[in-house]
C-alpha cells in the first residue's frame, strides 16, 4: 500500500498552513515529521488522514481517494494530541470508556495489546480524561495508535510530557511493533535527537512546505560542521551547500550538506565535525532568528 498526497494546500482564514505539499508514504517505514511550532505538522497529519479537508490537492491510498471513503480510512489511524477540559464530553469520559470507543472505531483493534500497554504504562483507567496529566494523555494516544493496528499510523507528538523512562518504552514499543508487523508509522516530534535512530526517513516541514525529505542516516552522514579561520572555512566550503554561517572576529563556522560524490578538500587547518539530526535541523530551520 502507498499513501500519496499531491499538491496539498490548506488555507485558514489568513494563514496558508500547507503550501503545495506532495509526499509518497510507503508501507513498512518509520517516518519522522519534524518542524518548528506552526510549521504545519498537525495540519498535514490531519489532512493525510481525512480528519480535515484540504483546500486543494488530493490524498489517495492505492489510487482510492481517502476523503469520506471508509475502505481507505480503515487503514489509517491518526492519534492526535488530546486536549481535554473538564467541561468537554471527552474530559468527563473515563479512560476505559475512551479506549472502548476507540475499539469500536478501529476495525482491527487489538484489545489484548491495549490491555498490555495500559499495564506497562500503569495508566489509571478508572480516572476521567480531564484528571489525567499531560504525560498520561500521551500514553492514551500511544495506546490507541498501537492497538488500532492500522497499516498507516500517525502519531502527533506522542512523547510530549512523557518522562525519559516512558519515552524509551515508547520507542522500544514502536520498534517492536514495526519489526513484527511492518506497519507504517509517521511520528511528529520536537524531541528530535531521541527519535533520530528510530526514524528511517525524515520529513522536515518549514512554513507549510516540505523543506527536505531524506533517509535519516544519509542526511546525518552528509552533514559536517566546519570551523576555523574565516578565509580557510570559505575556501574549504566553496561550491558546497552551506547553512547557518556564523562569524565571530576572524573565526567562522558553517554547516555543510555534502551531495553524493562530494568531499571536502584536504590539507586545510579547519575543524571538521559530525552533526546529529537535531543540529542539522537547527542549521536548516534556525537561520532566521539569528539574522
Amino acid at each position: 500500500m502507498k499513501l500519496i498526497c499531491e499538491h496539498i494546500t490548506k488555507q485558514y482564514k489568513d494563514k496558508l498552513a500547507l503550501n503545495d505539499i506532495s509526499l509518497t508514504l510507503e508501507q513498512g517505514k518509520i517516518y519522522g515529521l519534524i518542524g518548528r511550532n506552526g510549521a504545519g505538522k498537525t495540519t498535514l497529519l490531519s489532512v493525510l488522514t481525512a480528519q480535515n479537508p484540504a483546500t486543494s490537492g488530493s490524498v489517495t491510498l492505492d489510487d482510492m481517494a481517502v476523503w469520506e471513503n471508509r475502505s481507505a480510512l480503515e487503514h489509517l489511524c491518526f492519534s492526535r494530541e488530546l486536549n481535554v477540559s473538564a467541561e468537554s464530553g471527552l474530559g468527563s469520559m473515563k479512560v476505559k470508556e475512551y479506549l472502548r470507543t476507540a475499539s469500536i472505531y478501529y476495525r482491527d483493534w487489538d484489545s489484548a495489546m491495549a490491555e498490555r500497554l495500559v499495564d506497562l504504562f500503569e495508566l489509571p483507567v478508572k480516572k476521567r480524561m480531564s484528571k489525567l496529566s499531560k504525560g498520561m494523555l500521551s500514553m492514551v494516544t500511544i495506546i490507541v495508535a498501537m492497538a488500532s493496528k492500522a497499516a498507516f499510523t500517525f502519531l502527533d507528538e506522542p512523547v510530549a510530557g512523557l518522562d525519559v523512562v516512558a519515552r524509551e518504552q515508547f520507542y522500544k514499543l514502536l520498534i517492536e511493533e514495526y519489526t513484527e508487523t511492518g506497519r507504517t508509522f509517521v511520528v511528529s516530534t520536537h524531541i528530535i535527537e531521541e527519535a533520530a535512530d528510530v526514524l528511517e526517513e525524515v520529513i522536515i516541514l518549514k512554513d507549510g512546505k516540505v523543506l527536505l525529505e531524506a533517509d535519516t542516516q544519509a542526511l546525518v552522514d552528509s552533514a559536517r560542521y566546519i570551523s576555523g579561520k574565516a578565509e580557510d572555512v570559505d575556501t574549504v566550503t566553496a561550491g558546497l551547500e552551506t547553512h547557518h554561517p556564523e562569524v565571530s572576529g576572524r573565526a567562522k563556522s558553517v554547516t555543510v550538506l555534502l551531495k553524493p560524490g562530494q568531499s571536502l578538500p584536504a590539507g586545510y587547518d579547519v575543524s571538521i565535525q559530525p552533526l546529529n539530526l537535531q543540529k542539522v535541523f537547527l542549521a536548516l530551520c534556525g537561520e532566521e532568528e539569528r539574522q
Binding site: E168, I175, E193, D197, E200, D221, P274
Partner: protein
C-alpha cells in the same frame, strides 16, 4: 554487544564495529549465529534498516555470511580478517592523529619513542 551508542559516528558503523569487537573478544565465536537485524533494532532502539546496513557491511567484507532462512553467522577466519583490517586502519585512525598532536606540541621523535618505551608496549 552491550556497548552504548554514541553520537560521534554513524549508527550502522557502530553496529558493525560492535559485532567485530565481540568477535575479537570471543563473545561471538566463528560459525556461531549473530543476533538478527530485528533483535539488534530492538536492543538498541534503532531502525531495523540501519541495523541491517551495519550487518551487511560485514557480509560484504566476508566477516559474516548468510545461511538462507536461518540467519547470519560468523565466518571462519573472521577474527584474522578483523585483526588485519584494524591493523591497517591503525595508522590512519590512531597513529596520524597522534603524530599531528605531537608535532603541534613540539615533541621530538626521540621524546615520543621514549614515551612509548616508558608506557610499556
Amino acid at each position: 554487544m552491550n556497548e552504548l551508542l554514541t553520537e560521534s559516528k554513524s549508527i550502522y558503523l557502530q553496529i558493525s564495529e560492535m559485532i567485530e569487537t565481540d568477535i575479537l573478544r570471543g563473545i561471538l565465536l566463528e560459525e556461531e549465529q549473530v543476533p538478527s537485524t530485528n533483535e539488534l533494532a530492538k536492543r538498541y532502539t534503532i531502525n531495523p534498516a540501519t541495523a541491517g546496513k551495519g550487518v551487511n557491511l560485514l557480509v560484504d567484507e566476508g566477516i559474516l555470511y548468510k545461511k538462507r532462512g536461518i540467519g547470519m553467522f560468523v565466518a571462519t577466519g573472521a577474527r584474522e580478517k578483523i585483526l588485519s583490517k584494524r591493523r591497517t586502519a591503525f595508522v590512519e585512525s590512531h597513529l596520524r592523529p597522534l603524530l599531528a598532536e605531537a608535532k603541534s606540541l613540539g615533541l621530538t621523535k626521540s621524546e615520543l619513542l621514549n614515551m612509548i618505551e616508558e608506557n610499556d608496549l
